[in-house]
Homo-oligomer: 312 residues x 2
């Protein structure tokens, strides 16, 4: 799905498009910036006026949702979940009827595959091309136009979305010609990522209980077979006692609920994901939902009366 | 702990030592080969005469245990567990009394830290230098002299063990001047590695339940935040339906039992490790204990009635 050798930050050799980005949180804002940098005309939509104004100061455009999408070739939905995705498209104030036929909808929330298939069908009935396109990579990579996107949808959806995908992503994984597979792949990733973060917390608390130096644990494990992408990324937050949220605890009850619901629908037990989910729920219940997800380690430390770095 | 720029396979600039390797399984045999290649004189000991004879054909020496260790500067114990470690050293036929004072004992089994501390003290009472030195890396890296060793013990133990460590390991993680820390670090690694293998099985079964192509899942996840060293190493075994044991299911009930016992002693709940342990126990109970540990995926597939690659 790449246009080739063009580096990010240059105007693509694809024609400039008009794109509406709905949801200017940490991910959506960076994606809108990447679209601007690639030479597209970008409307920013958010219930919070501050990022809308900030984007306008960087060259973005301001308009009511229906007006913005009526002028757009592509709509990118960077909202929280399935309910918001459905509401933005088909709710009482939904924008789907205002979109012109043939426009592409890039749906980025983590949602159940069956929901994606339903949205694809409803969009198609209005002549819209729906791309099931969950994102991965974090705010920094969103701002650099270097996300990973797990995408599936019709050829029309891929073709219509291509100029925006090219601006926003370093990797577009093409998972086939029907919505659902993108969401399923994202769920596989979240199952693993959520387990690995909770396992990081379990391992760091275990190491602390044995009197090991936690910085040394990170050095050794990142060079050993027990390593994971999440361990390497999150365990240093524990060592540094730095729980400023890059990705918050509260993400995980939401995403692992989706995973366990999908699994239940397939009659598949997922006991490890369920156990990780319980740890994130415990962290949120303890009031740590807004902290960085590495703070799941505190659930363990509290249970065993352990002192973590940064604790008196 | 490296002698410097000497590449493996050349004679070390340290003096040639006499070394007894007890336990010539897939790890111990490769370690004995690496010691031979480094120019040491190596006695091989195993209850199975075949690998002893095979090692002798490659330049190894054959003698009864007590005779071998009496002639040795270093004894390397590559046995299954704490019980075997204790038996080889201090059992009715144990070799510790036959070792000369100042000899180094390199203990490589995965054992509880408290056991390592006890062995260190008993060895010291006989004038022996005990190195708590669990190994990681698999049979291939054992044969190449490229293991990772998580080591702790007295300076005397490190100094005495150095010529053998140099021959056997690419990385020696020095975890301090007392036995116990090496075993604790190994337990941290096994906690994570065991969880990550079981999570790999859970994720691959989940992906299969959603109709995703499993080879494509491996491509995408290994480039995403859900990756782990174990996922990358083991998931291809599922795709290839190749369960020839590189590391068997049966390792994990043993190693995760040690992890959960250590955690219980510290009053630390480790629910994710416990859940992974239950999955490996279920795999063993189903008769798959001798298969590669990637076969934990079959526990999930059976529960949900899923077909895995290679199944009719």
């Amino acid at each position: 799905m790449s246009t080739g050798p063009n580096s990010k930050g240059e105007t693509s050799d694809m024609a400039s498009k008009t794109v509406t980005v709905v949801g200017l949180g940490s991910m959506g804002y960076g994606m809108a910036q990447s679209l601007l940098r690639a030479g597209h005309s970008v409307f920013g939509i958010d219930i919070n006026p501050a990022p809308v104004a900030r984007l306008a100061a960087e060259g973005g455009r301001i308009a009511p949702l229906a007006e913005a999408v009526a002028a757009s070739d592509i709509v990118v939905l960077v909202v929280l979940n399935a309910a918001q995705t459905e509401s933005v498209l088909f709710g009482p104030e939904g924008c789907a009827p205002a979109l012109r036929a043939g426009a592409a909808v890039i749906a980025c929330a983590t949602v159940p595959p069956a929901f994606s298939r339903e949205m694809e069908a409803r969009a198609a009935s209005l002549g819209l091309a729906y791309l099931d396109a969950p994102i991965s990579g974090g705010a920094l990579r969103a701002a650099k136009g270097e996300l990973s996107i797990m995408a599936s949808g019709s050829q029309e959806a891929f073709d219509g979305a291509a100029p925006a995908l090219d601006a926003m992503a370093a990797n577009v994984f093409d998972l086939g010609r029907a919505a659902g597979a993108g969401s399923a792949m994202k769920a596989v990733n979240q199952l693993l990522a959520g387990i690995h973060i909770a396992a990081m917390g379990e391992a760091m608390a275990f190491a602390a209980s044995q009197g090991l130096d936690l910085a040394r644990v990170v050095e050794v494990i990142t060079r050993s077979a027990g390593n994971s992408w999440m361990f390497e990324n999150r365990a240093p937050h524990v060592v540094d006692a730095d729980y400023a949220p890059r990705s918050a605890i509260n993400i995980w009850p939401k995403d692992l609920d989706i995973v366990t619901a999908i699994a239940a629908g397939a009659h598949l037990p997922v006991p490890i994901a369920e156990t990780a989910l319980a740890q994130f729920r415990a962290a949120a219940a303890a009031g740590d939902g807004m902290l960085d997800d590495a703070a799941v380690v505190k659930v363990y430390a509290r249970a065993a009366g352990l002192k973590l770095p940064g604790e008196a």
